[in-house]
């Protein structure tokens, strides 16, 4: 079993739709959870960052972590064509030493159609 599982999609939605992106993970030691956005032929850009369980909101984006079920989500409200990209979830353990290493999901390719 891979440490982080993510449905690669592709996912295609109309402009204005609510998008739900999800990952599951297997290592209970993971404490930090991140979402990166990667446009075509670009490096990953940090979008959201959360610690432990709970929700975090930033504009149209909401990150949600449920450690009891080892499930992480990213919601995009009022999606725009500019949101079209690959979204990567990533996790890591507690700070310090090798625990700064990130474990990534495979990424979900999202297309928002005007």
């Amino acid at each position: 079993q891979k440490e982080v599982e993510q449905d690669p999609g592709p996912l295609s939605v109309p402009e204005g739709a609510i998008v739900s992106l999800n990952c599951t993970y297997s290592n209970s030691a993971f404490q930090y959870f991140m979402w990166y956005r990667q446009y075509s032929r670009k490096g990953p850009e940090l979008l959201m960052y959360t610690y432990s369980s709970g929700n975090k909101e930033d504009g149209r984006f909401t990150a949600q972590v449920d450690k009891s079920s080892k499930y992480i989500s990213l919601f995009i409200r009022d999606s725009q064509p500019s949101d079209s990209a690959t979204y990567l979830c990533a996790t890591r353990g507690q700070s310090g030493g090798s625990n700064y290493k990130l474990t990534f999901g495979k990424g979900t390719l999202l297309t928002v159609n005007p």
Binding site: Q6, Y32, M34, Y36, R41, K42, G43, P44, E45, L46, Y49, L88, A90, S95, S98, Y100, K101, L102, F104, G105, K106, G107
Partner: protein, 116 residues
């Protein structure tokens, strides 16, 4: 956040040759890493670049194939040695400042290598 610059941004390389990728960060960082992203795949950590000492490699990656240097807190290089078509990939430098930056890790734009 840290701004990370990589050179070259892309290159086409001959089989059997080696290429060195440079990574420059605009501020001192405690952590630097090198990742590989093969076509259609996610990011895989190659190694942690340690300042002033040998890099720490992940399983499946060896120093002879991917020698790494980190002479100071803002600069690192990754060499891809004796390249084969299987090495065609995006190579990404990443960095973080620990608690100073909220324990977050940032990425450069990547170096896109095609081996022919």
């Amino acid at each position: 956040s840290a701004v990370i610059s990589q050179k070259p941004s892309r290159d086409i390389c001959q089989r059997g040759t080696s290429l060195t990728i440079q990574c420059q960060v605009d501020s001192q960082v405690t952590m630097m890493f090198w990742y590989r992203q093969q076509p259609g795949q996610s990011l895989t950590l190659i190694a942690t670049a340690n300042q002033g000492s040998e890099a720490t490699y992940e399983s499946g990656f060896v120093i002879d194939k991917f020698p790494i240097s980190r002479p100071n807190l803002t600069f690192s290089t990754l060499t891809v040695s004796n390249m084969s078509p299987e090495d065609s990939s995006i190579y990404l430098c990443s960095a973080g400042q620990g608690a100073i930056s909220g324990n977050t890790i940032y990425f450069g734009e990547g170096s896109w290598l095609t081996v022919v």
